[in-house]
Amino acid sequence: MSKRPDGRYVDEAPFDPQASIQQLERADLDAPNWVLVWRKFRTHKLGLISGIFLLLCYVMLPFAGFIAPYGPNDRNGEHLYAPPQSVNWFHEGEFIGPYVYPIVAEADLETFQWKFAPDTDDPRPIRFFCEGSEYKLAGLIRSDTHLFCAPEGATLFLWGSDRLGRDVFSRILYGAQLSLTVGLIGISVSFFLGILFGSIAGYFGGRIDWVINRVIEILRSLPELPLWLALSAAVPSNWSPVAVFFIISIILGILDWPGLARSVRAKFLSLREEEYVRAAEMMGASSGRVIRKHLLPNFMSHLIASASLSIPAMILGETALSFLGLGLRAPAVSWGVMLNDAQNLASIEIYPWTAIPMLPIIVIVLAFNFLGDGLRDSLDPYQQ
C-alpha cells in the first residue's frame, strides 16, 4: 500500500505494458474440444458410472452364452415355474464354496400346485468352466464351455424358471442381445434420416423447410402406439426372428426421426448465424462443405447427447411391442418377449419372478438417461 502525498494509491508491483500478445490467455482450455468435454464429464459422477455400466453391458453382449448357465430355450420339464434358488457358501458352519440345494417338485393336492422344496441335507457345489449346451460366441465361434453351470443332478435357477421350465437369468442375458441392440439400430436409422432432413430444412430454409416441417408435424400427430401396431402387424409371420428384429428396429427408427430432425433444424438455424459459418460462405465454400466442415462437427456432440436420451424410448418401444405380442416372437428372446409371459396379474402374484425382466429394463433406461444428462451438461466446457 503506498499512499501518495496527493491522496492517491498506486500499485507498485512491476507491470509490463507490452504483455506479450503471443501468450495464451486460457492455457487451461488449450485442448481439442472432446478433451474439454471429457474433463467436464468426468466430474459428473452419476453420468460417469452409468456410462461405465452401459459400456460393460454392451461388452458383455457377445459373451452372453458364456455367462449364462443354460441356453435360451433349454427346457427343464420337471421344474416348471421353479422359484429362484439361493447360492450359499457355508453348509452347517463349514465353508464349501458356492453351492445350491437341489430342489424337488412335489404336487400339493390341496391347491393343485407344484411345490418346490430344497433338500437342505445335500449341498451341491456349482461347477465352473464346465461343459453345457452349445452356443456361439459372438455369433461365430462354436463353444460349449460356460462360466458356471448347475451341479450334477441339480438345477441352477438364479432368478427362477418360467412356464416351460426355462432359466429366467439365462434368458435375460440372451434377451439383452436383442433388446439393447434394437435401440442402436433404431437410433442409427433415426440419426440418418433426422440429420438428412433436419439439415436440409435448416440450411436451405424456404419452401423445402416448409414441406419438411409439415411432414414432421403430420408424422408427430399420428398416434404412436396404433401406428407401431399397424406396421408390425404387417410384418409377415413366417419371417425369421432376425428379419423381424431388423424390421422392428427400422420401424422404431422411422417413427423417431422427426424429433431429431427438429432439433437438428433448430441447431442449424442458430449455428448458421454464427460468424464462422458466414465467413466460410464468404470465402466461397459450397453448401455441402459448410454443412460437413462447420455445422455438423459443431453440433454432433448435442446430437450424441440427444441420441443417448432417445435410445431408452426405442428399448421401451421394442418391449411394449413384444409385450403385446406384435414385436419379436418366440423362439427369439428379448425382454419384451419374456414379459409377455407375465401378462396376467394372477401369474405375477403366484410366480412373481416371471416379472424380473422389468428390472434390467428399468436399470438400462435410467442409465441411458443419466448418461445423456451428463453429456448434455458437459457439452459447453467453457462455462465456469
Binding site: 501518495r4 496527493d6 491522496g7 492517491r8 494509491y9 498506486v10 500499485d11 508491483a13 507491470f15 505494458p17 500478445i21 503471443q22 495464451l24 490467455e25 486460457r26 492455457a27 482450455l29 488449450d30 485442448a31 481439442p32 474440444n33 474439454l36 454464427e274 460468424e275 464462422y276 458466414r278 465467413a279 466460410a280 460462405e281 464468404m282 470465402m283 466461397g284 465454400a285 462443405r289 466442415k293 462447420h294 462437427p297 459443431n298 467453457y382 465456469q384
Partner: protein
Amino acid sequence: MSALLSVRDLSIGFGSGPSVVRDVSFDVEPGQTLALVGESGSGKTISCRAALRILPRTAQIRSGTITLNDSHGAADLMKLSERQMRSIRGNRVSMIFQEPMRSLSPLHKIGNQVSEVLWLHRGASDSEARKEVLTQFERVGFPDPARAYDSYPFELSGGMRQRAMIAMAMVAKPELLIADEPTTALDVTTQAQVLGLIKELQRETGMALILVTHDLGVVANMAEHVVVMHKGRVMEAGPAALILNEPAHPYTQQLFDAAPEIPDQDSVGIPMPDEDLILQMTDVSKTYTMRSSKGWKAEKLIHACRGVDMKLARGKTLAIVGESGSGKTTAARIALGAELPDPGGKVLFRTTKDSEPITVHHMTRAERTAFQRKAQMVFQDPYSSLSPRMRIQDAMTEPLEIHRLGNVSEQRDKAAEMLQRVGLNEDMLKRYPHAFSGGQRQRLSIARAMMLDPALIVCDEPTSALDVSVQEQILTLLENLQDSLNLSYLFISHDLAVVARIADEVAVMRRGLVVEQAPPETLFYNPRHPYTKALIAAQPEPDINRPIDLKLVALGAGSPDSWDDAFRFSDSVIPSLVELEPGHKVRCHV
C-alpha cells in the same frame, strides 16, 4: 465523514482456481461518484456484485469486508442473512445492468416491474405505487409516462429501456446506485443522454454512484473518484482530476493512450481520389418487404438503405458510421455481393487498375469465385468468427482449400507466414481457438481474411467487441497491413473516434440514408449536419475539461423530423445530397 460503502481487502475466486479479485479496497462517499475502470476480466463487475452478494454460484468471497453505512445505520454486508440482504437490495442499494434488452422481463408491463420495488420494500398499495412510478417515469424523461407504464419492454427502444431500468433502480430512493456499464450497449448519442440523466438524478437526490465502465471518456464526464483495475487488482486509485490529468501507473497511461479521440482539426481534408477506384457503388438501395401484422393491410416496405453512392480508391479506407439499424451493415453486405441491391443499383469492383470491372450486383459463378478471392471480410465478434472445432491451421488454410490453391505444405507455410504478419506465433497453428483472448482471435480472423491475398477487406465493426487497448493494437495492425500490402478497407463502425484515425472518407448514415459524407478532417473541422454534430458532441473524451455538450446531442439525436428545416426529412420528402465544398456532401435542402 465515514464512507457510505467501504470495501476492504476483498478477494474472490471461482471454484478451486486462483483468486480473480485480489485485495481490492475502495470507499464511496455519500453523494459522490466512484468509477471502477478496467478492461474485461479485470474483476470490476465481480467486485461490485459482491457488494450486493449476487455473485455466480461457483464464486466465493475468500476474504475482506464490505460495510454499508447509510442513514439506516451500519451493516456488514458479508455477515447479513439472506433475508436481511433482500431488504437492502433495490431499497438501500440498487443496481443497473449492462443489457437493457435482457434485464427487463418481457412478459410484464414496465410499470408493474418498477412498481414491484415499492410493493416489496414499502408495502405500497397499487395506486400509491402507480403514482410514484409515474412521477419517476417523468423524471427519467419518458415523454408519456402513462403510456410507458402500460407498455411491454419490447415496445421500447434500448435507450428507453435503460431509462426504465434507471427508474426502477431509483424509485425506492436508494442511497447508493451501482451502474454496471449502463451505456455500453447503447448508441453513442443515447449514451450521452443516459449519462446526462444519471448525473442529473444524482444531483437531485444526492445519492452516491458506483459506475463500472471501461471507457475513460465516460469516467471523465461522470466521476469524482477513480479506481483503475487490471487482472483483479487495483492499479491506481484517487481523485478523478488527478488521475485523468497525470496518470501515475503505466497501465492507466496505457489506457489513456489507447482511448480513441476525435482530433481537433484546423483545415479540411483531401477528398477521396477519383481514379483507380477499387469499389464503386452507384445508387444502391435495398428494400425489404415485411408482412404486416394485420393480414388485411398491405405489406410494409422497409428501406434498409436508400440511394447510397460511394467510391473507394485503391489503398484507401472508406468508413461508414451510424447507429444500429442505420443500414451500414446492409450496405457492406451489398458491397460484398452477399446481398443483391434493388434493381438499378450498381456495384463495380476492379481487381487491378486496368482490369474489366466485375459487376458485383450481377455475377456469374466464375465471376463470383474470382471476386471472393479478392474481397474478404473481418467480423465483429472474435468469439464466434472461428469454429471451435477446428484447429487454427485448419481454419486458416480453409480459404485456400476451397479455392484449391497450393498443396498441403504450401498452405501451411502460407498460414504460418500470415500468423507472423499479424504478430502471432507460428506454433499457434496447432492450437484451438478457445485458448486465445479476444484480441488474439481478432488477429487470427484478420490473418484468415488475408490468406487469399485480397485487395479489399470489409471490416464489420472489427473492434467494437474488444477492450480499448486491444482496439488500439488492432487498428495499428490494420494500418500497417494497409501500408505494406496496399489494401483497401471498407470499414463499418458506430464510433466516429475509431474511424477518425483510419478512414480517408467517412459516410455518416441514419435511417438508411447517408446524411453527410466527407474526409474525416473536413467532417470534424466543419460538420454541417445536426446528426453529425450530435455524434461528435456525444463522443465522451477522457478529458475532464471537455464535458459532453448535451444540448448539441439533443439537437441532432432525435428523429429526423425534429431537425432544422434545412435538414428535415420524412418518408416522402427526402432532400438530396448536396456537395457544399469539394468532397463534402450533406443531405439538406439548399
